[in-house]
């Protein structure tokens, strides 16, 4: 299978690393892959990931060439506009399989609006069509639904936005656990042997819930002064001041390792941890590279019981409610601190489970048949899209009798062909 794999491909993008590792695995299985880069502006200025795969800009080929050169295009969609700018044009040009890395793509759509795409028109056309998902009121699924409506088939990495994809995408939809190559074990010196070290890592923004963790620590007599909270990763200065003030006010020891942290340094911070807090509220991403990273660290992990996190078996991690209540976090931390050998054993079991579940091989085992299915159903999806666009242009509402007649005619036709 000849695949045009559209993705950001720079050292700062987690989706780029996922794509590189995955494409290598797909190549080993016989796929012929060329990378179509989707970055623009600032996003295109970062160093390119080293690779032997052929690299092109996603706007390099015209429609006819894309059709001739590739059996299928796979477009990776994330919510960071500078990394995913060309994804939309490619999908409009050549119906593709879309891999949605985020449940919310509001920032991507806003970025497109800012550079002149008629986004508000799309909202009118697609925002009120399919039923709004009841999954979480805090997530606006309309942009996701719009992009999914353009795809031949869609992949999501968590259960919380699969229904929105199924409602909107004319082709098949699959939930696959995100994949990530596991790190080689690294020997790190333990810097705080006498403390109970809690780590949160990644881009420390509001939805990482660092303030929830600080309040949980502060409310625990059992953890007391033993607890040290370490925040590792990029953080906005304003947010850092806010967290530092909160920690100081509540008497929680808090330290920041601020900025872009190289992989091996991050691995040491995680190995060093007695507990890793990998929280989110709301859960805007699809799968979570942080979750996998946390599991691969082999340290006790506290996660929300929602989205892709909910797929981790309950006996392998400490699941807390997906809200802002500090009490479940405090309880989890106290349990970990109370029986360290048991917590460590649970973390090791989680590591073994994660290596099986999030392996590249497992992902490709599921992805390849899905791509073949997408190819088989592509004529139906393309016909559906063309028909749908014509009906929308005509001003026909989606519940109009003609929509149902055409849907039935299409279904009868393609079912017969099967």
């Amino acid at each position: 299978m000849r695949i045009g794999w559209a993705t950001p491909f720079n050292v700062r993008s987690a989706i780029a690393k996922y794509s590189r590792d995955l494409c290598v695995e797909l190549s080993l299985r016989g796929a012929k892959i060329e990378i179509l880069r989707t970055e623009t502006g600032e996003g295109a200025k970062f160093d390119v990931l080293p690779t032997k795969l052929a690299l092109h800009s996603a706007d390099h080929f015209d429609d006819a060439t894309l059709r001739r050169r590739f059996d299928l295009c796979v477009v990776n969609i994330g919510d960071h506009f500078p990394f995913h700018y060309h994804a939309l044009d490619l999908m409009l040009q050549r119906p593709s399989v879309a891999i949605f890395h985020d449940a919310s793509v509001v920032n991507l759509i806003n970025g497109l609006r800012n550079v002149g795409y008629p986004v508000d028109q799309w909202n009118v056309r697609f925002g009120t069509g399919a039923a709004e998902g009841p999954e979480r009121p805090e997530i606006d699924f309309r942009p996701l639904r719009f992009l999914a409506s353009l795809a031949l088939a869609a992949v999501g990495h968590g259960p919380h936005y699969i229904r929105a994809l199924e409602d909107s995408c004319p082709g098949p939809v699959a939930e696959l656990p995100l994949c990530q190559a596991s790190d080689e074990p690294i020997e790190c010196a333990r810097a705080h042997a006498d403390r109970f070290l809690i780590v949160t890592f990644g881009v420390i923004n509001l939805n990482k819930q660092a303030s929830r963790v600080i309040r949980a620590i502060a409310s625990s007599d059992r953890l007391g002064k033993r607890a040290l909270y370490r925040l590792v990763g990029q953080i906005a200065p304003k947010h850092k001041v806010l967290l530092a003030n909160l920690a100081s006010k509540l008497g929680v020891d808090c330290e920041f390792y601020n900025g872009w942290i190289p992989d091996h340094e991050l691995a040491c911070h995680l190995t060093d941890a007695d507990a890793i807090c990998c929280l989110r509220f709301p859960v805007l991403e699809g799968g979570s590279a942080s979750l996998i990273r946390g599991l691969y660290a082999g340290r006790p992990l506290i996660i929300p019981d929602f989205g892709s996190y909910s797929r981790v078996p309950s006996e392998l991690a400490w699941k807390v409610s997906c809200d802002d209540d500090p009490r479940p976090v405090r309880t989890a931390l106290e349990q970990i601190a109370a029986d360290r050998p048991a917590a460590d054993a649970r973390a090791v079991a989680a590591l073994q489970w994660a290596k099986r579940t999030y392996s590249l091989a497992a992902y490709v085992d599921a992805l390849l048949p899905f791509l073949r299915r997408a190819l088989d159903t592509a004529p139906y999806a393309e016909a559906g899209r063309t028909i749908g666009n014509t009906l929308v242009e005509m001003g026909v509402e989606w519940r109009d009798p003609i929509s149902l007649r055409l849907a039935k005619a299409g279904s009868d036709l393609f079912d017969e062909a099967d």
Binding site: T386, E393, M394, P401
Partner: protein
């Protein structure tokens, strides 16, 4: 340049619009252009079918074409960048016939939805800043009234004027054209009962349906006027038709609110024959002037009979009216070369 003439077709129905399409293509070819007609089958019953028909046209894509000349709903909805409209008519059941409660679209929730879709798609189609010609003032005023668009009247020329001439006056009345309820040949036949026994009428044209033919036969039988009315219900060859018109005293034509000036009136005047018509015949009245080039009667059998009687009893007056109609028609300079010039000038 490759020109595609877009219109509808109802299989095995052939009338003025079909003749116009054929001759438009012929005359485009005479101009040295490559031209073809694309006739899309159209069915408007049941009314729900109208949405499907619009969808079919909106779904078509034209390639290897430089210019489209679009004539009828819903064929004119076929998307194409370089399109000139020459509207013969819109779907009147969504417009004036809806207001007149003569529409096949019911006044129900669904009916109103279907009507809305027709009007909205017409508006979108016409708002593409493309030149709109129409075949008559009636069509122009309807387009302005219901859709708000200006247009320019471009009367269809006579297709084969060389065939039509004043051969003789054999004293009979002829009612040519497609036979159906809206063309109202039944009114003309009904008028015969009020006329002298030696009056002769020939109804010459193909019926749209057997029901239309039966209706005429029923009236003839009811009034026992078989010896006065000849029903020649077939598609008459053009030369034969020209001969029939050219030897008549006058032409009777009483359609309901006809959009255009009509081929029947044009052919009559080409043959220097006066036209008897009715006050509600629409575009025909833009050509026929009462007591100048014909007689315009109220649309009832008795009044129409009086108009015919005047022309039958006054052959010299009828001849002068026919001559006046001929001169009036010729003075308009409506012919295919100027029509083609205009249509081509409307392209982008």
């Amino acid at each position: 340049m490759k020109v595609l003439v877009l219109t509808n077709m109802a299989p095995f129905v052939w009338g003025g619009a079909e003749e116009l399409t054929h001759h438009l293509v012929v005359n485009l070819r005479l101009r040295g252009l490559e031209a073809e007609a694309f006739r899309i089958p159209f069915k408007f019953e049941p009314y729900e079918r109208l949405v499907d028909e619009m969808f079919i046209c909106k779904s078509l894509r034209l390639r290897n074409v430089d210019l489209v000349i679009a004539l009828k709903f819903p064929a004119y909805l076929v998307p194409f960048e370089n399109k000139v409209f020459w509207l013969l008519h819109q779907y009147r059941q969504a417009y004036d016939l809806w207001d007149a409660k003569q529409s096949n679209i019911p006044d129900t929730d669904r009916g109103r939805q279907v009507r809305r879709l027709i009007i909205e798609n017409d508006n979108t189609c016409f708002s593409s800043r493309t030149k709109i010609y129409v075949n008559s003032k009636v069509t122009a005023s309807r387009l302005k009234r219901y859709n708000g668009f200006d247009s320019e009247v471009l009367h269809p020329p006579l297709n084969d004027p060389e065939l039509f001439s004043n051969v003789n006056d054999n004293g009979y009345i002829i009612a040519p054209g497609r036979v159906n309820g809206m063309k109202r040949q039944w009114l003309i036949v009904d008028a015969m009962r009020y006329l002298p026994r030696d009056t002769r009428l020939i109804v010459a044209g193909p019926p749209d349906s057997e029901e239309d033919a039966t209706r005429l036969r029923r009236i003839i039988a009811e009034w026992n006027i078989e010896d006065r009315v000849k029903l020649d219900l077939r598609l008459i060859p053009r030369r034969e038709l020209a001969e029939l018109v050219g030897r008549s005293r006058c032409v009777a034509y009483a359609p309901v609110d006809e959009d255009s000036v009509s081929y029947v009136a044009m052919e009559s005047f080409q043959c220097c024959k006066p036209v008897a018509t009715t006050s509600d015949s629409g575009g025909v009245l833009h050509l026929v002037e009462h007591e100048h080039s014909g007689c315009v009667a109220q649309p009832d059998a008795k009044a129409f009979a009086q108009a015919l009687a005047y022309l039958l009893e006054n052959p010299e007056r009828a001849r002068k009216m026919g001559q006046a109609g001929h001169e009036q028609w010729r003075s308009r300079g409506i012919n295919w070369p100027t029509t083609i010039d205009k249509l081509l000038a409307g392209r982008r």
